[in-house]
């Protein structure tokens, strides 16, 4: 199991829509990330990542997590196969604590400590 922890001060992170300071600020946030169906290819073939997110001025969301992952966890070329805009590429499902993120406000879902986030690339082979 790998981890990717930031060495960059949180002030330098590029996190959009970080407008209001709410609860959870000022503390590190640990979440577990898993990849399935080949989504791990853009993350050094690590199927599981323990990510410690640095203290932030506002709550971490899936949107800001993706921005963080792009900078700190992704490796090699072909990142457009995982990241598109501020979201994931079509064909990739996001599951938060065993539920489709669509049931949980997708990109705006606010992360809680020890959340389990799975990115599933849909397969087409047969």
């Amino acid at each position: 199991m790998a981890s990717c922890t930031s060495s960059i001060p949180s002030g330098e992170r590029e996190v959009s829509e970080c407008s209001s300071a709410t609860g959870g600020a000022g503390k590190e946030l640990k979440v577990n990330i898993e990849f399935m169906g080949g989504a791990e290819m853009m993350f050094d073939n690590q199927k599981k990542l323990n990510v410690t997110l640095p203290p932030a001025e506002c709550k971490w969301t899936i949107r800001s997590l993706l921005a963080y992952m792009k900078v700190h966890c992704a490796k090699g070329g072909g990142l457009e196969r995982f990241f598109t805009g501020d979201s994931v590429t079509p064909g990739i499902l996001c599951v938060i604590n065993d539920q489709d993120w669509e049931l949980l406000d997708t990109l705006n879902y606010e992360l809680e400590p020890n959340d389990n986030i799975i990115f599933i690339s849909t397969l087409h082979g047969g």
Binding site: G37, T84, T89, P90, G91, T122, H124, G126
Partner: protein, 451 residues
């Protein structure tokens, strides 16, 4: 010590040939018999055309044959009769379709349709378990038909040797009760989904790649459809197929078998159908997981109350990729940046010391087969060098003055590699080999493995 058999023994060769011919003769006779047994009026799968057997009753043979599954209270005589009077269409007779068809035929589904336009290739046999050597280069539907008929003559099989398309899909699908998506590409998956929504058929969808599989049921009762989950098609370059990424045969074996299970549950009106849930199988981890997925989307382009798509569209255009799992040839380089395999053969023979030869396939592929004098530099590592801009040739201890020739499997990645290398080493002469190792095997070395 094992004594090696002499496979050149004329008697062995003679027997092999005789057995092959007998198998073909057997197939011919079986086909002739099934033609004679075929009902005259061949209206559709349902109804009395079915082998003339009774719809309402099970024969003594049927009771014996299916007794072990009929003993299950959730199946019983009622469930078996439902199976007998049902029809299932399996789209794609490959890694998923073969086991799905096998179990559905064995379970006594009354009518099974098979759709596939491909022929059996040798690289199919490790996972497409209905096919065998005798049927190499024969249509997959014929091969599957022969194998399934031998398993259960009571089932009516219908073969559709065609590529499912917007023009024929509705006709083919309309006469079946449940559809099994055992295809291998995105355009056909979207097409199948839309037809199933329009014709109100449940779609049992499976997929497999490398050591992972996925399964769900779309368009069942009020559950989501494929487009509810995937409103936009995946970008073509993000889709991996079995021919490139590989697949372990047991994985589609597991998923195809589970597809048959879902079909049986739907047909026998049992609860617990995998609708609104996604099942994933990780073979290496030996784990099955099920995730709750979204409900039917109120804004779905096909299955919502105000659909924007009301008829079948051009799915290859929609997905930007072809409705098969083959890779089209690309053309990125000028003709003077490319050489033919014959020229490569000359260079290897006479000037191998004055040139650098690079094979950009994966290490796994390079280990399977390679041309001597070639050094393996996987294209993925080039992408990495490209981003980190570290000097590649010092790492590899290759000569930075000699011209470079790049080869891959089919001549696509070699062109991409030439482009990357030219950015890094603009002073070097760098060319790719047109058609890659497939051309090499065809035109220079016929003994070179093709995969």
């Amino acid at each position: 010590m094992v004594i090696e058999k002499d496979f050149k023994d004329p008697r062995i060769l003679q027997l092999k040939e005789e057995i092959k011919n007998l198998k073909l003769l057997l197939c011919q006779k079986e086909t002739e018999l099934s033609e004679l047994l075929k009902p005259v009026a061949f209206s559709c799968c349902h109804g009395p055309s079915m082998k003339g057997a009774s719809k309402e009753k099970l024969s003594a043979t049927e009771i014996s044959r299916y007794s072990r599954q009929m003993l299950i209270p959730k199946i019983g005589v009622k469930g078996q009769l439902k199976l007998k009077n049902s029809s299932v269409l399996i789209v794609g007779v490959g890694g998923l379709g073969c086991p799905a068809a096998l179990y559905l035929a064995a379970a006594g589904v009354g009518c099974i349709g098979l759709v596939d336009h491909d022929c059996v290739e040798i690289n199919n046999l490790h996972r497409q378990v209905l096919h065998s050597d005798v049927f190499l280069n024969q249509p997959k539907v014929d091969s599957a038909f022969a194998a399934l008929r031998r398993l259960n003559e009571e089932v009516e099989f219908r073969t559709h040797k065609t590529q499912l398309s917007s023009s024929n899909a509705t006709d083919i699908i309309s006469s079946y009760d449940v559809i099994v998506d055992a295809t291998d590409n995105a355009p056909t998956r979207f097409l199948l989904n839309d037809v199933c929504v329009f014709t109100k058929k449940p779609l049992v969808s499976g997929a497999a790649l490398q050591t992972e599989g996925q399964l769900t049921v779309y368009n069942y009762e009020n559950g989501p459809c494929y487009r509810c989950l995937f409103p936009k098609p995946p970008p073509p370059n993000s889709v991996k197929n079995c021919g490139d990424a590989g697949v372990l045969g047991t994985v589609p074996g597991v998923i195809g078998t589970l597809q048959a299970m879902e079909v049986i549950k739907i047909l026998t009106e049992n609860k617990g159908v995998l609708s609104g849930r996604l099942l994933t199988y990780d073979g290496l981890d030996a784990s099955f997981r099920t995730f709750k997925i979204r409900d039917k989307s109120k804004t779905c382009a096909v299955c919502s109350e105000s659909p924007t798509i009301k008829e079948l569209i051009d799915y290859e255009q929609f997905c930007g990729s072809a409705a098969n799992d083959k890779n089209p040839s690309i053309n990125l380089l000028n003709p003077n940046e490319r050489i033919h395999v014959e020229r490569l053969a000359e260079l290897l023979k006479t000037e191998s010391e004055n040139n650098t030869f690079i094979d950009v396939r994966s290490p796994e592929e390079f280990e399977m087969c390679s041309i001597s004098k070639f050094v393996n530099v996987p294209i993925n590592s080039l992408f990495f060098y490209n981003t980190s801009s570290e000097p590649l040739f010092t790492d590899l201890k290759l000569d930075t003055e000699k011209p470079v020739y790049v080869i891959c499997r089919r001549g696509n990645d070699s062109q991409r590699a030439v482009q990357i290398l030219k950015d890094l080493y603009s002073h070097l002469e760098i060319k790719d080999v047109i058609g890659g190792l497939h051309s090499w095997a065809k035109r220079v070395d016929n003994d070179f493995p093709v995969y």
